[in-house]
């Protein structure tokens, strides 16, 4: 495939506080690319930047520098209302997109797809009691099977969360304090020192 599915190119996002004396309160850096359909598992504590990264990928957040290419299109050059045709962010139960509108519509390009190519699931509700998990996992696989790129983001705190991740995901990204660590399979992931540190006793169960 000539064009990579998702290219996160030297992306950087900073949040700062204070008008005169600026203090950076949070920064996120990412630089990776994914060439083909996959289910990517993403883990990290709350506030580590997972959601921010997703927002950047779907174009609803403006990067401080760098760019995001989805199917070869710079997401920030695509019309606001069509960005979700490239990458869609499932945030809790529905998708909210609040854009920093910087340019009028006619200066932007239309999206090339009808149905989103990149699906980002932000903390899906994996609840063992209601029984929906299985259907959700099937759905991830179905999307993957239709040639879509799927991200599943989770902050695991039960052993079965890790089992799920291991079961469906092919690649992993670990986020902590705004920096990313990539791993190609689950075992490699849990060998990483920061991951072990993060998961604590859950690792043993896994």
């Amino acid at each position: 495939m000539s064009v990579p599915f998702l290219e996160v190119d030297n992306l950087r996002k900073e949040y700062s506080r204070g008008l005169i004396n600026k203090r950076i309160t949070f920064s996120l850096e990412a630089n990776f690319s994914i060439e083909e359909p996959a289910i990517v598992g993403m883990m990290g504590p709350n506030g580590s930047g997972k959601t921010t990264l997703f927002e950047l990928i779907t174009g609803s957040n403006l990067p401080s520098s760098g760019r995001v290419m989805v199917m070869g299109q710079n997401i920030h050059d695509v019309r606001y209302d069509e960005r979700d045709r490239l990458a869609i962010h499932y945030h809790q139960s529905y998708q909210v997109r609040s854009f920093h509108r910087t340019r009028p519509k006619f200066m932007m390009q239309p999206a090339d797809c009808e149905y989103p190519m990149v699906h980002l699931f932000d903390e899906p509700q994996f609840n063992t009691q209601d029984g929906y998990i299985g259907f959700m996992l099937d759905f991830f696989r179905k999307l993957r099977g239709e040639g879509r790129l799927v991200f599943v983001c989770l902050h695991p705190n039960e052993p079965f969360h890790l089992n799920i991740m291991r079961e469906v995901c092919e690649r992993y990204i670990f986020v902590r304090d705004g920096s990313l660590t990539l791993a190609d399979d689950f075992d490699k992931l849990v060998e990483l020192e920061p991951v072990r540190d993060y998961l604590g006793r859950l690792v043993d169960v896994a």
Binding site: S93, V96, T128, Q129, D130, G131, G134, F135, F139
Partner: protein, 247 residues
């Protein structure tokens, strides 16, 4: 061909995508279920299917006819009827008036300004039949607004039934009902199942598993899976859930 079909429905509210890609079909004579966790877009989906909202993309077909974007009225007249999750009754009317107004004969004479409503024996009979179906025959002249919760739910269904629908949509009929009342409702729906094509939206899986012929699971504004209750129940996660333990 299916009696009712939805193809590629997409719906947004402002910057919020609520339905991404909905494909559904319901066969005549069957009881179909739509289920999904809270906030999955079930009710919006329902509202699009029954014409309250117009989808941004996609088509809704009823009996082979495109009914996308038709007004709720036109859709109702084609024979699709629905009940509401948040109760939507005529609170100042008596129970029988609530049903009576939904009866097609009364509807067809809606612009009649001289005939007495109460004198329309045929329509009254029909309303009485519906009340009997939903078990409210003894409360026909009570004010709908002062009925107990369970009876209001039943009346909600009664109003929908009175329109003599070919397809009946029920939106979370068990919402707010206790165990007993839910059980009674199950019985009522089992009865209705013989006479009507029914679609039920529910988040209570157990309720649906007991009633439906087939079920579509909606999440993230999309149909994430569909199948018969048995097929769905076979899923290992369902097995290990509360539901599986009980079933």
């Amino acid at each position: 061909m299916a009696l009712f079909e939805a193809q590629h429905l997409h719906k947004r509210f402002g910057d919020r995508v609520v339905l991404e890609e909905i494909n559904l079909s319901f066969e005549a004579g069957q009881l179909s279920g739509i289920m999904g966790p809270n906030g999955a877009g079930k009710t919006t989906c329902f509202n699009v299917l029954t014409g309250r909202y117009k989808p941004d993309r996609g088509k809704v077909l009823f009996d082979g006819q495109d009914i996308t974007g038709m007004t709720p009225r036109a859709i109702a007249r084609k024979g699709i009827s629905r009940s509401f999750q948040i109760m939507n009754l005529f609170d100042d009317f008596s129970v029988i008036e609530n049903v009576l107004i939904a009866v097609p004969q009364v509807r067809d004479r809606g612009f009649n300004m001289t005939r007495r409503v109460a004198a329309d024996v045929a329509a009254m009979d029909k309303a009485a039949v519906v009340l009997e179906q939903v078990g409210l025959q003894d409360k026909a002249y009570e004010n709908a607004g002062s009925l107990p919760y369970g009876d209001r739910r039943a009346l909600e269904i009664g109003v929908a039934l009175a329109t003599e629908p070919r397809l009946l949509f029920l939106d979370e009929p068990t919402s707010g009902l206790g165990i007993d009342a839910t059980a009674r409702l199950s019985e009522l729906i089992l009865e209705l199942k013989h006479a009507y094509t029914i679609v039920i939206i529910e988040h209570d899986m157990k309720f649906l598993f007991g009633l439906a012929d087939n079920i579509a699971v909606i999440h993230w504004g999309q149909v994430i899976t569909r199948g018969t209750p048995d097929e769905l129940r076979a899923n290992k996660w369902v097995q290990s859930s509360n539901l599986g333990k009980l079933a």
